[in-house]
Amino acid sequence: MGTTKDILSPFLVWKQFFRKPVTIKEPLKRQGADRYRGFHINDIQECIGCGTCESICENQAIDLVAVAGIDTKSGDSGLRPKVDYGRCCWCALCVDVCTTGSLKLTNVFTWVDTDPDQFRYIPGVDAKPWDNATKGYKKAASLELYPLERIPMQHLHPEERHDSFIEIIKGFSKEEALREADRCVACGICTATCPAHMGIPEYIKAIREDNVEEGLRIMYETNPLPEICGRICTHKCETVCSVGHRGDPLSIRWLKRYLADQVPASAYASVLKSDSIEKNNRKVAIIGAGPAGLSAAYYLGMMGYQITVFEKLSAAGGMMRFGIPEYRLPYDQIDKDINYILSLGVEIKYGVSVGKDITLEQLEKEYDAVFAATGLHDGRSTRIPGTNHSGVYQSIELLRKITLGEPIEVAEKIVVIGGGNVAMDITRSLARMQRQKYGKVQLIATSLETEDIMPADREEVVEAREEGAIIYPGWGPREIIVENDRIKGLKVVQCLSVFDEQKRFSPKFDESNENFFEADMVVESIGQGANLSYIPASYFEQLEKDHRGRVLVDTLTFQTKLPWLFMGGDIIEGPDVIHGIANGHKAAKGIDQYLNANREEKQ
């Protein structure tokens, strides 16, 4: 130390004098790097207001707020994220988690303003200078904070199922259910769309926590038929699931089934606390033991009412039992749900047809209120020439007979007319029966709609094909050709479009493009209608109706203009099971309200 070198050495850096200064002269103009995490932008049309960005933000810098001009609709809460730059730390976790990919950060990072309120803004709505910036932080394609792929559902392969009615879907194992439940981001978009507003993220959470009893409780708050819905619900929730925007939507329906499957019937009463209902002495009559009727019966039963259900057929379940084939919905599962409802003390009078065996007036007299949920059981006909032949059937009557175990005609060659789920149900049922009888399937299903707009669920069409049926979408039936009193087949013409510009049903055909499907038997499956003949004309007149003659009810209580008469289910809304369940629940609350108000008046 202290050498001459140590004194001179520092002077060797003299060339530093000539270096250019490195200071950034205009910091406000400095460009952020291409992935810089600067200010937010949001594609407001793409964003669905799911709020997942809000829930991941550790700083609570995001609030979902209503925005003028963006309405709440199915699959979109109508809210949009508002960021608070007094709290944000620009971590971009909100960007990584964004279910639609609409949210991004720009590389703009300087902003001078004297008004502090400006620093809380709704990206994409409140115009900002960086709105058009193209650079900035975007989530890398391979980074996902939650799995986008569904856990596949185990099911029977076509050759294992095509000649029997055993259930196709095997259901999740616990491990699979837990993994599928893990994918949920708990946004609740599905709840808003579900007609029954089921607590979906809540029961999915119960699955994750392996608390199936809690899950069952949550389900029964809004839906007393979970075994059934867990199998055949039209799952409108899944079509809007926010995870589905960039990946596969949650298998909400199968998760519901998993929960219901886990709890044995014997545990229901204690789990759901139906062993301690306080009964009252008011009586409610319910017409029809379908989803709406059973749902109303359950909720009214839980409130202590004495319920009598009048069911025309010999078993309860309505379309769920008599419309949906067993391979989709086994009877023992229907029984599990229904038996539990019966265990509340609900009485069902089977084989009693209101209007014939007992009149509506009688019900009005004997009961405090009546809920009619009679469903759509009259098959509609195409009314084309030949439909009055005895070899032409309505799908709905065949399905009913199959359930009842009554013999039906199964011809060697069959044509089914219709492209909805019921059409697929009869197609697949008959295909099974053809295979049992003839060892092969010769069945054609044809619909007006082309495949892309066929109303049936996609998997129904795919599975029907796997089971041997041939699907010819996009043809309009013209005539059932009958020769020597024997059906020869169905003449069809190409259907060019089904709906007009106003989205009204108005099919257009190319008459020159004909086709002929050979058949010995034709099944019509183009929809069902209601039969309200049990309502006497003097009553029917008093009900409010729309321009097409459909009965109108109060949308919250399902009360008709006759205060004691409530109506719901497929005759009012739908048609599907979950609307029926939702209607039944609302009607139960409506009836309770009505009867309580009545009692107070009397007192």
Partner: protein, 397 residues
């Protein structure tokens, strides 16, 4: 205590109070022999938001107390109320100048307890940011060290050089300081196009400057005069005081977590452990300077050995719902200041039960500093403190 005897006040202790039974002198302020002085919290010679309460007798320190609490943010407690994923924006703030070791340790702790595996490329990118963090950390320290003895110019150079590395951080991670780049299962993004070339240009520039810094600082009579023989750390203190990193290595220790319990891609890199024995401020600074040059080499190795293709992040379970089975783990890595550890306890819920951050600054800036400052000259307090390279935010988690 004063090894080479340069520091003059050591010799005759008779005019100073004798230690009492607890080994500390009885200080009677009313005797007017002593004066209390505060170094910090507002003082250019303090290493951040902390202060040292000095009791001096003339210009000799007789007692030193480190005071913290100026920067308490309660991160460890806050983390118990945040989902695992939500803690990433928090952990990076625990040691502000070196967020990456926090992210790395925290992510590794989660991975250890959940079994999430990081793909190869992700490990390489983690190694890269760990070394980039070390490089910029040493550059920042170099400026502080030079500044503490009055060489502001070196501080300006090294801060410019650090900015170059921050530019690379910015283009890789999207941020200059709080990178939030490491997530469980890997990292958030791949290298941008042309990154290696730009990095190489920066490394060359750094090497050029380092030659000058060597001339102007380490071969400088004044610097030597102010640092050689001052701030001695006795090797015997290493274990009792929990001394780690360069502070320990300059006292002969060979401890380096990168070697002792290798993690990420260190086993595939060729580097040695820098050690020295003189254990004074000068030795520690030269050792850090050498480590800095080792880093330059390591970054080159990493960029050339890293595979071009491959996943940088694993397929993750839903991070919003992540729960971790009850358990505990201790994860460590080597930061610029030595062993940096995360002790994490999970109770089976979606929130950590406890996260304890073991930062070297805690032991170095409190117990060790208090010991080293006794008998120091007031004028040397700043460089002794800086020579320990401590970060107050890391003390106050």
């Amino acid at each position: 205590m004063n090894k080479q005897g340069v520091f003059s006040l050591e010799g005759d202790r008779s005019k100073y109070p004798q230690p009492g039974a607890d080994g500390k002198p009885e200080i009677d302020l009313s005797s007017h022999k002593y004066m209390k002085m505060w170094q910090g919290p507002n003082h250019p010679g303090i290493t951040g938001n902390m202060s040292v309460e000095l009791t001096v007798c003339a210009d000799e320190v007789v007692e030193a107390k480190t005071h913290v609490g100026y920067l308490h943010r309660g991160f460890e407690k806050l983390m118990e109320r945040r989902k695992y994923i939500q803690n990433f924006p928090l952990v990076c703030r625990i040691a502000v100048p070196e967020p990456d070791y926090n992210e790395l340790n925290y992510a590794t702790a989660i991975e250890k307890l959940t079994g999430i595996e990081v793909p190869e490329k992700g490990l390489w990118l983690r190694t890269l940011v760990a070394e980039m963090a070390r490089l910029q950390g040493y550059l920042m320290w170099l400026g502080g060290m030079a500044g503490a003895v009055g060489f502001g110019t070196v501080g300006q150079w090294s801060n410019y050089l650090r900015d170059l590395i921050l530019d690379r951080f910015e283009e890789l991670t999207g941020a200059r300081i709080y990178h939030i780049y490491i997530l469980p299962g890997g990292v958030r993004n791949d290298l941008p196009e042309g990154f290696a070339d730009r990095m190489e240009a920066n490394l060359k520039e750094i090497e050029g400057f380092m030659k000058d810094i060597n001339r102007v600082l380490f071969n400088n009579y004044v610097y030597k005069k102010r640092t050689v023989g001052i701030g001695y750390i006795d090797p015997a203190w290493i274990y009792p005081y929990g001394i780690v990193g360069p502070n320990a290595r300059a006292a002969g220790s060979k401890n380096d977590v990168r070697k002792d319990s290798p993690y990420v891609k260190y086993p595939e890199l060729d580097f040695g452990v820098n050690t020295a024995t003189d254990s004074d401020i000068y030795t520690r600074s030269v050792l850090r300077y050498n480590e800095l040059l080792t880093d330059v080499d390591l970054i080159r190795q990493i960029l050339s050995k890293m595979p071009k293709e491959g996943d940088f992040i694993a397929k993750l379970p839903n991070m919003m719902n992540l729960t971790i089975p009850a358990g505990e783990t201790y994860v460590r890595s080597e930061c610029t200041r030595g062993e940096y550890g995360y002790y994490m306890v999970s109770d089976g819920s979606g929130y950590p039960r406890r996260v304890n951050v073991r930062g070297p600054s805690y032991t170095h800036a409190v117990a060790l500093l208090e010991k080293m400052l006794v008998n120091a000259n007031i004028a040397d307090v700043a460089q002794i403190m800086v020579s320990l390279h401590t970060y107050p935010p890391e003390i106050e988690r």
